[in-house]
Assembly symmetry: D2
Homo-oligomer: 364 residues x 4
């Protein structure tokens, strides 16, 4: 099991849903960077449960404690470690899962891999709760990037059948982004958010859940990041995003739509904007040959519906080798997409800062 | 620049389109495995240009020479190196590209990153030709997997507006797969292939190109491969696939369709098949929590239209800081998707064998 | 800065001498292994200060708190995180060190590298205190190894001019090893330990310090561990050992003595011991071609004298660019060698377990 | 098996003694660096056999062919691959070694690890011949370093009982270094070299071999390279050096002598040299806390006597499980130390350039 991300900035996630704590170590973080803990907690609040009526009523006190790596509020070059204590845990809910795995969860595959040693309580290390320390790491990276003019923002592009309008690919949404970060339901069109909320409540009322798509844009990324056949920013970003629980698809720029496009349509023409080389469209999503063009980095991530639903489901008893009905108890989000928005931003920020730490392609 | 893939089986790709040679080193390959060179060359032929009227007439003699790693036709535990000499190169075609970058290509981003030192001839290290050594590596992995009952097959699922029927997600296509490997246009429905071929020829006639989607299935993968937040088989597979030139999207199982699904529909119910735990559907694409379920591994990859088109395009002169018209000369595939089919299989095989080399989760 | 060790078992150390806490994350630890916390604390006690009159009187409560990775006292496959709170810190002692670096310490090089952002208090991340979490990780590995019959033991081979007899290279010391683990001054000859203790007290009386050599033996290692030009167990062990603060040399088997030996003398003849292939001597220290022979793994590690001495020393003011006299205050061990003995064992155990997790050279 | 070195500059060695070729891939090499092929061949000649009467009369045409990575004699950012064809091979000499392993060689351990699949001819991948591609990589790094004022030089410090005077630790040997690179027997004192030569010839006359120590100095290394508990330049250098066949010990600066020193003697006092901070002595060997001080990097490496000797030796038959006498045929150096001098320089250059490619500790 490797729960570590990054080539140069190594982000190591630890913890289980019902362990004493969850946390993160960031090794390779640049020194001398201020960490605004208040802003970090605000960022973490965007991921916290219990903010809206569509999320689980379970409250988490996601207040991180920084154990190391800071001196006077600035990174000191030593690994930064942060933990969140696990307080609100109700282990009793999960007793049966080791034998009768929940469809759509990692219960069965963890059993195959770890042979019964795995922690099943609350999903163990596979729990969505582990995205909290990921957000600590990402939140710190976002601050470092923002200081250099690089902004990462995401919105809910789709939930159930409801769509929000997509980002404008050349970055013309700049004005609308600030409000996204404050909204419990971050959409570009307010009406879309309301209809999504209804779709979620409908699903919950029926003991069911819904999935969705998150779209993310990175404004003003440096040009020239990434490179090599497998060291491209697209490869690294995709690997990182598929590490978020429930992700089933990642596409960059025009993504799967390229299958229906002609080259003459998909190629982004170059043009000059003053002294700067830019493109007139951005079907590439800001990446050519694995290297950033300097145009906005644009990608979408598909999240499956929460597998924990209250309806009865078909499963098996692993010990008795027979089929059984399963009813999953406990409190679960009927849709994790709204809370996953800052997680996508966090992961993108980590991948981007990591690429900014690549050795220079030329020595001075 | 890192052109290396894999955690335990490290596949290192080298070469440029017009360098003396291209090749690959595979470090960490299991010892004692027979390598059938004839079968390997047949596999490489599936990627070679000039096989059909839809691909570039340029002929490549993609005959690999194994330099090391074999004794009496079996791997010996030492790194296996293989090279393909570059013979058919016409450097003159590419003179202007360093100053006037081709839209949709890595010309511009390579210039930003390598500051003029990069090899522009034929796309240099970014050339699709570099997928030939990737196929050498993947072809060897496919043989090792097949010996253990694991089969990797892909077909063209879409080109332009034309669709082939998708794989049956539970692996019921087994009978149809053998013919896919022999077909220059690997589709499940013969008619689809013919219409795709027409779509490509139409595009070429108009000096244009088309993109597409390749779908890949891995039959009989071991259950329990992959794991950890970022060591999942999905993360590793996605990173590898985005390393193939022109890839813009990767989705697993139901992929982006999960956004429209309810949990009750998307969750794959468990059931018993004799003593074996299987699922009744396979929206997960064979992966839960980053770990293989043992059901077929199923994913799709989107390829953009070949950026080299013969139509005039808008670009800029990097030296003169002004806009210029560009006409790309040379011989190019109007659609790379048919030749990319074995490349997708190769990359999947490398990622899978690498995961099979993960340390055991439990010690004996 | 990378404070991470291991290829498959990734041990990530964090903390600074005066940060809120120090700790470790172990990712890739085999699942299902019992961790005896009491035995672990006993092992940590061997490293703790204040045990003898030759070490600093400063007391550390090195009681680790396990945050994750355990279920019912067994590893669960998820990363194991452990922390030790820093309680006994007196920051005032170290005020001046950022400007006037201590000779023999990392004060100056950290200043060059981190440009003033580094944590100077108590040596920051460079402090010997960081070997405590290393011992947590190593102590857990030692338990896993011991369960499989692999025992790691070390003794003080030299301090100042005083020598202990070396280990018998074929492992005939087995009987004497148990007492080494209980001794505050682990030597094979009791008299040697007493004379070393005197040498240390003499040095301290003169405001000075002494260095030494630790010898370590691994009994019953599996044969066939390690391999490849740079994946040898010797390379990995050496890299790990040089990570311990104050280490200036590592030698294996006959080590530097090989320079005076003839091949006929140094070559270890093979012979049969029942069905087992063994060697009649062990100048190789249990390693040939980077791979374990199955004979005891035997190596020695040189530790420099504690750089913090109470005598006045020559240094410079980095801000004023002039030479200055420096007197180092605070409490320091006049010799760190006795407390480094378990650290060497810990590091060897981590490197060995990591090599045991290498993928098999042949697939089943 | 991993035959790869480096974090950012990844040097991957392939080949076996009797495979069609041996070679190297360098991924991550800075772009835009001129490679002087003539100077590279001269450097490789220093490692070639048959130069003096103390080395094997076997001739190797170690002329490397660069397959990729260069454009107009400059690195282009793509991986640089180079091969040396194996021409002068006499496989017949090595028939028996798979069953009756040579003492002191990897024959036995390779058999344990690779279960009979390994290439035994001429030592296979464990052959000293594999240091030739290592010298290609190192030779290129040396050129890149020299262009920045960093010079790497080594001499034979000891062979048998004969000692050369050590390097002056503060780098005052600058004038004497140029001649070292031209000498077939690189020593600082001419008389020492002659006596070493005699010691080797004596050993050979008796069917035996001798070992030795190589000392290496890096002049004018940048200060501030390396860092972190396990990312120190000492750890990385030691790991690389132990990858050279026959190395049994590595020590830095005062090395094992620190065991007899007091802190007041071993600590290197700081002083000003103009505006530059230097040390008055260099017992640290240019490294404090794993980070370069900017003083000369100074280390010694112990090489065991060539295990292939013509005397009869005790071994076993692995198939018949019984003891057997073995006489090793073939042509072997009675001492590999003279030819290992450029190999040590090469490895140091790779490790140093790799550290120079570490991400900056602070972001601009």
């Amino acid at each position: 099991m490797w729960s570590e991300l990054g080539e140069h900035l190594r982000v190591s996630i630890f913890g289980q849903s019902h362990a004493p704590a969850i946390g993160v170590v960031m090794d390779g973080l640049p020194a001398g960077e201020r960490v605004d803990l208040e802003a970090l907690e605000e960022f973490l609040q965007r991921r916290a449960p219990g903010r809206t009526d569509t999320s689980t009523p379970r409250r988490e006190e996601d207040r991180p404690r920084i154990l190391s790596g800071l001196v006077d509020g600035h990174t000191c070059g030593a690994p930064l470690a942060a933990v969140i204590e696990n307080t609100n845990t109700r282990s009793g809910d999960y007793e049966n899962l080791k034998d009768v795995p929940r469809p759509g969860h990692a219960d069965y595959t963890a059993q195959v891999r770890y042979g019964g040693a795995q922690d099943v309580r609350g999903g163990g290390h596979f729990s969505g709760r582990l995205t909290a320390p990921l957000c600590i790491a990402g939140g710190i990276c976002l601050q470092i990037l923002a200081r250099r003019g690089v902004e990462v923002d995401a919105h809910i592009q789709r939930i159930g059948g409801v769509e929000d309008r997509p980002f404008r690919p050349l970055g013309e949404d700049a004005g609308a982004l600030a409000q996204l970060r404050r909204a419990p339901f971050p959409t570009l069109e307010q009406g879309a958010g309301e209809r999504m909320r209804e779709a979620i409540l409908d699903a919950r009322a029926e003991g069911d859940s819904v999935g969705g798509v998150i779209e993310c844009v990175v404004q003003h990324p440096p040009a020239g990041l990434g490179g090599g056949m497998f060291g491209g920013i697209d490869s690294r970003l995709a690997a990182a995003l598929f590490g978020i629980p429930a992700v089933k698809g990642v596409e960059l720029g025009a993504g799967f739509r390229v299958a229906e496009m002609r080259g003459s349509e998909n190629n982004d023409p170059f043009r000059m904007e003053g002294d700067r080389v830019v493109t007139s469209s951005n079907h590439a999503g800001g990446v050519l040959g694995g290297i950033t063009t300097g145009m906005p980095l644009l990608f979408r991530v598909a999240f499956k519906p929460t597998p924990s639903i209250s309806r009865e489901q078909d499963s098996v008893s692993l010990s008795r080798h027979r089929e059984e009905k399963l009813v999953v108890h406990g409190r679960h989000d009927p849709c994790i997409v709204p809370r996953a928005v800052p997680v996508v931003e966090a992961v993108a920020a980590i991948a981007l800062l990591d690429a900014m730490l690549d050795p220079p392609a030329r020595l001075p």
